[in-house]
Symmetry: D2
Subunit: 338 residues, 4 copies
């Protein structure tokens, strides 16, 4: 961390600042320029409150050189995190394909889709029981019943299940859910993240619509700081001026995160684009960019899905996407080995 | 609502769609063009799930003409909502000035600031007891102790108090808080909004960093749909590419919301800009744009505030801002009467 | 196009509007609802000025159903445009790989790179002679000398050359340039677009940093309206709040544009990300998303390139990217044929 | 400027870098930390190519401490620039009100409006002769005829005239135009800026839709570097995700620019919002935020304006806005003097 001191600061004030910084176990290196004095801080600056320092009278600017996260950083753990879910592995060169309906609607629906996506190559089943909806008048999910139906589908197919939690109070219902999803709107629901840090379940953490990559990693850090290192990151589109697609899928985030962090990263092409015919090309692109997996909405009757229908694809379409994804995944691997 | 039907759709399918729409108490007007058939839906479309219709095979596009909210809409309530808090009124031509520290730090601090801002013209006291912080390692607020200190300051000064809730589980602590604040990161925490709809306390609802004006009004609708009509909206900056200010204060949102809705709108210049010397000009601009009030961070020692110091101003600076705001407020009123 | 008439409009005014619309060879279909009257316009609405209609007193809203472009639309030309440049083809299932230095620096530099990228599989050579730089104090390109050096490299290698024009006055120098590039900052330099519409040279049109897909197609329409149908579109990143990468590469734009238009689309991963280690993953992703090609910065000495060094890769790195791209391209094709 | 050196860099390489930096008349201060070496550069860094340094193998990061512009910086000229146009002054505490039609349509139209806005308090007349339009099929302005009509209106009223240039080739027509406007889409048309730097006419430079404040100042620097110091900056809305208003007016830019630069800043509420009923509140807000003036579209028949009608106001509405603006301007001044 670099602290730039204002030109006319008094020596006494600077000395007090340096003492205070040193009291946080930081070494302070002073570089005196003509226009400014610069303090270089060496040590564990991930716990330093950058805003606090910036607010001081004598400070012109503060710039971080190291990331403000630690557990999530590849500098502190060079090897890929690999998370085992049921009999499948996420991260470390494995390709994870999570598929299923946006909302769980009935036992028949979810079981039918579960069988279909398993047969087509999915490694996990997704399904929403609690649905965050912009309108209070829209369908909000089946709740506890939905979770029960997912568990039935799991027993029938053996697929581990992924479902979204919206509030701490719902957590007891997720005991038999394999991966707990935190939605984009809750990425900075810090109470929830903290609570998930106390569980020992894998968490699928979706990037907020207007969250930076650093903020996503800081939210992962919230979970990891509590002792739960099983975090799967998910890019699902960011909000930009472009309105043709629902959001703008930020695929560059994949290689960027892979460099900054050891955590697995998957892509949600369904929510990112909101348009079913974009699911295939963006799935292929995600895998080509190095993503560890995909989470895709599949519905046996997209035209009548109770929510988010326009972005769902049919089991038949999913089977084709899944095959094409496999071919690209192998091509990317072959390209690496050459 | 207008539904555009695809060119080669079969009559049978169209008839089924029309029947289904009519079953929702909507009148359907058909307009047959050369390239498309257009269905005009008349009735209460605020409960219609636009995504569901868009997902149908035979539908090319759906466009809303009416807003998807109702309780929050000025069409359904032409007169301004006026909310009484303690002995002050919010909305309806009153100027509300909420001031206080970002975080409550001690009894002395909050009481000193409370006296100072009251004397300078503030009509309510703000103070954070639960603080949403990006980093798990940053100061998270004093919690229940902070609420208690705020109540002490209220008893001493008579100022009603405003404080932020972060999770449903904290609500019991807010019994003696006059206005419950929902932070930008929680604007779409729908469980929390729903719960606040069951209370009878005024809610100060902050716009999310990447939320549209319509989404803000939909979140207000969540609270109002539960029976609580006392919602104060707050614009506090949106996230854009410009990085000089922390966020971009969207002041046009004030006249836009005043036209769409009857709810009061206030501005938070401190969080919007993140820079203390911008508080004054943006406060004046907010009032000139027609805002019903301001929420301003004031700290007796900004350089040592435990959080968000750079955007706080001193009580002395606040006194000047408050006076200048009053002059502009009167000038705007004079301009209207001419 | 749909025109929504305000509730209390007078019959006389509506009649006048309808007459005026019919005078533009449009058929007007009237749909009378309870709250609004809706006019459905049928005919060639691409020439209708939507802002003009919206401005009328009696009009509540206007919504386009058809695109405002025509020559660029796939509805008017279902088959892919294929553009022949030298002995290579752009579009229609061909993979175009354009490579070369950001700036032309010397004969030796550009010829060395030209040989290297040709040998590694590039189909065209790029090189900037006129450089748009944010700062008036930064290197602005070699100008006419740069063009001459590119032509030398073309004679030596046979590779067609691509270079950027910044102003109409420079056009005479581009007589022997095979593809004229319009940079992102000039995407809406309408005088320049109009002038390029009068040439018979392929134009590589880059999307502006904050331009929508529709605006990109409208700029293509400017060139095509003048009679020049050889437009290659290029996505090179849009400006968003995320600051880790220089811009956010909007890969979804590829399948979106392929559906809306018949024009070829290529991707510039170098400028989009501004980071050399992202060139490889984003190149693979672009091809997987269905792009017709890539334009990649290659420099024999990236660390000393006179501009945009951080995003350039070496010829050796380019050779590897090129091979990996080929493998993904074949995998995508194989996936389609199954 | 601070250069952070990578951990394992060789002493030889570092020495060479330091020598090179010193050869640019910079003093280099070395600060050796445990993890990194930091070089602090002192001297005139506005001419240093930051990208070039960042591209070096041994450099981890470069951070600017000083702005990359010089002529436009308040550090180099503490006093406000005041520009005299005809018999009025722009900047330095004067309130400039520029009004007139979006497009010049006829002698009668422009003269009528000129008389009306003069009588209502405008200090300059605006009018477009060359119009940048997204669609090649929309009205593009009267060109030279439009300029001639503006000059007639100037002779009749004595108001100085402001009009937009779109290309260098049009400059000869602007000899008798008092202020040359550069539109948002041309803010980074560097050839045009350079050419304007060679004239001795005031330039009204509009901020690009997706340009940062720093980029706006860099474009001003292009003009000033050529010797023309008469630059008036204009904020006219930036592109964000919010689609209710055409753009998002960034009023915080006013106090930010006033701090960074000595150049006058005016606001265009008409183009920023695109909605006529927002012109009044945003004009008041602009003046309250400290803007040096306004540029407002006024049309005697907004409903039939040939372009941008929805954002124009009538002369009668303008008269009221002008009066209300004056009241707020005086209130802001009174607030300062207390």
């Amino acid at each position: 961390m670099i602290v730039v001191i204002k030109k006319d600061s008094q020596k006494e004030q600077i000395d007090r600042l340096i003492q205070w910084l040193e009291s946080m176990q930081l070494q302070v290196h002073i570089s005196q320029g003509l226009l400014q004095m610069i303090l270089g801080l060496v040590g564990d600056t991930s716990c330093v409150d950058i805003d606090l320092i910036r607010s001081l009278d004598i400070v012109e600017d503060v710039k971080r050189i190291q990331e403000p996260y630690k557990n999530a950083s590849r500098k502190f753990q060079p090897d890929d995190t690999v998370i085992s879910v049921g009999n499948t592995m996420v991260g470390g060169g494995n390709l994870t394909v999570i598929a299923g309906p946006c909302s769980v609607e009935s036992e028949t629906q979810v079981c039918e889709i579960a069988h279909a996506v398993k047969e087509a190559g999915a490694t996990m089943l997704r399904g929403g029981a609690f649905k965050p909806r912009t309108s209070p008048y829209a369908f909000q999910g089946l709740g506890a019943d939905g979770i029960r139906m997912l568990q039935l589908a799991k027993r029938e197919t053996g697929l581990p299940i992924v479902s979204e939690v919206m509030d701490i109070s719902q957590l007891p219902l997720f005991e038999d859910v394999d991966v707990i999803q935190v939605g984009a709107r809750n990425m900075q629901n810090f109470q929830l993240l903290r609570e998930l840090g106390r569980t020992n379940k894998p968490v699928l953490l979706k990037r907020g619509l207007s969250s930076t990559i650093e903020e996503l990693l800081m939210s992962a850090e919230y979970i990891m700081a509590g002792g739960n290192a099983q975090v799967i990151l998910c890019e699902r589109g960011i909000r930009t001026f472009e309105s043709y697609t629902r959001n703008t899928l930020d695929l560059s985030a994949v290689p960027v995160i892979k460099q900054l962090s050891h955590l697995p990263v998957i892509i949600d092409p369904s929510h990112a684009t909101g348009i079913s015919h974009l699911v295939r090309p963006m799935s292929l692109a995600a895998v080509a960019a190095g993503a560890d997996g995909l989470i895709i909405e599949v519905h046996n009757d997209p035209a009548h899905a109770l929510c988010d229908g326009p972005q769902s694809i049919t089991p038949a379409a999913f089977r084709e996407v899944s095959r094409a994804v496999q071919l690209v995944f192998e091509a990317v691997r072959a390209g690496k080995q050459e």
